[in-house]
Amino acid sequence: MEAIVVKNITKTYGKGKKTDGTLAVDNVSFTVGKGELFGLIGPDGAGKTSIFRMLTTLLVPDSGSATVDGHDIVSDFRQIRSTVGYMPGKFSLYQDLTIEENLNFFATVFGTTIEENYHLIRDIYVQIEPFKTRRAGKLSGGMKQKLALCCALIHKPTTLFLDEPTTGVDPVSRKEFWEMLKRLKAQDITIIVSTPYMDEAALCDRIALIQGGKILSIDTPQRIVQSYPEQLFAVKANEMYRLLQALENYPGILRSYAFGEYAHATFRDPDFKTDDLEAYLTGQGLTSVRIEAIEATIEDSFIKLLN
């Protein structure tokens, strides 16, 4: 059975008699299997938050339908609200309440107690328990995030909605956070998570790349990168700016762009020879030129899909 089924949902904001409004979500469909870790990957303003708010019954779609655990997001909103866990993007807990008070409050609101579902949060909670009398406002970003996750888990949700949980969090905490998600998956909780970071996509079972309210591609991260149509090359030289310019003017170029300390490039000719390019670049006055055939990443796929 599928945990989440989304069929052609569309959402427009600020639609008036005279204005068309902003199309935030444009005819989106996807499904998430039970116990799956599903990622919505896309930049700010892609429509991730709107999708989350519709699935958590906070917004009603203009058209289309969706179910969570078989409950309709419009008519059965009460059932959904008592079974899912939700961590909004800007969620910041009650800053003036301690760790323990925050957790207790959310447990009570959800009609449970910390003790009842302690086994679910134990792995995470033990890391912040030594500071349980500290106020949430005084915690580091990583600790706040752990507490927020505990609060979203405390009522044993069937499905967990995490909207950009790693935004503004340092790499160490981000890594720990994804490890926690993997362990939760083992507890048979369906997790749907959104992120603007392409490098986090590889940690999901399946991902949807989303931009401008539209889904560009849905698949496992592996299959998405495997379906990259051309052979990708990483090029390096002593000077980035001139390298990018030189690549752009290379006759056989298909696409080229900066990628960290490398430039990534694809070429029209399937029999492209790296030696030709190296000669060309050296001829342009660049030194220490290195060219390597590489596998595409999610980010390369995204760029390809956007063009």
């Binding site: 160490v172 603007p196 392409m198 700016y241 762009y257 300390e261």
Partner: protein
């Protein structure tokens, strides 16, 4: 590198708040036209160090010169020679593109003629001519970022400080933004980037990572990765920051 090629020179720069050493004897140089990444976890001392470099906060001890000016005594000259852009604030959303450019040009003391020339040049380069009279609030995030970077270098500063400039934008827009940065660096403007997004850091020429107030490493991304025997900057950072004692 030649001595006069150095735009930022820090020697044992330190800032204490009571017993707490926020920035602990950091020593480094940044060269003209370099893209320098300034990294660290929350609370590592990045913000404090950057405030000293911008002339906003006096160091407790140590030496530093920015564009040749001393951080203790010549803060006014420093401010005239630097530009600043952060993702959180850069432009006035309820002013038009044109009004923003005029305002910031005026603040940096450009003449009306200079502002006019610069404005035309900038709008041409960004392809924003037709949007000049639109409110900044109505522009997509990517354009706002490009515009605010261009405004930050409007007065041709020696150094531009960028605070997490490209978080949250799509990969294509991000590259257009970096194209602008490469171009500015090519013109000789030094670009100083603070961020804790490692994928952003990989675009820099050299990267420094601060841990608990100290500058632990300083090298090119490639050298750092081979030095730590890992494949990504994320892992370099993870190894370093894992040992950190301080949170934010």
């Amino acid at each position: 590198m030649m001595q006069d090629d150095q735009v930022i020179v820090c020697e044992k720069l330190t800032k204490r708040f009571g017993d707490f050493v926020a920035t602990d004897e950091i020593t480094f140089e940044v060269h003209k036209g370099e893209i320098f990444g300034f990294l660290g976890a929350n609370g590592a001392g990045k913000t404090t160090a950057m405030r000293m470099l911008c002339g906003l906060s006096a160091p407790t001890s140590g030496k530093a010169t920015i564009a040749g000016f001393d951080v203790y005594t010549q803060t006014e000259q420093i401010k005239k020679n630097i530009g600043y852009m952060s993702q959180k604030f850069s432009l006035y959303e309820n002013l038009t593109v044109l009004e923003n450019i005029e305002f910031f040009g005026g603040i940096y003391g450009l003449s009306d003629q200079q502002i006019k020339d610069k404005t035309n040049e900038l709008l041409d380069r960004l392809g924003l001519k037709s949007e000049a009279k639109k409110l900044v609030a109505s522009l997509p995030l990517g354009w706002k970022q490009k515009l605010s970077f261009s405004v930050a270098v409007l007065h041709e500063p020696k150094i531009v400080f960028l605070d997490e400039p490209t978080g949250g934008v799509d990969p294509v827009t991000r590259r257009q933004f970096w194209d602008l940065i490469y171009e500015a660096a090519n013109r000789g403007i030094t670009v100083f980037v603070t961020t804790h997004y490692m994928d952003e850091a990989e675009y820099c020429n050299r990267i420094s990572i601060m841990v608990d107030g100290k500058m632990e490493v300083l090298d090119t991304p490639a050298n750092l990765k081979s030095q730590f025997g890992v494949r990504s900057m994320d892992e370099v950072f993870y190894q370093l920051a894992r040992s950190a004692k301080r949170g934010d």
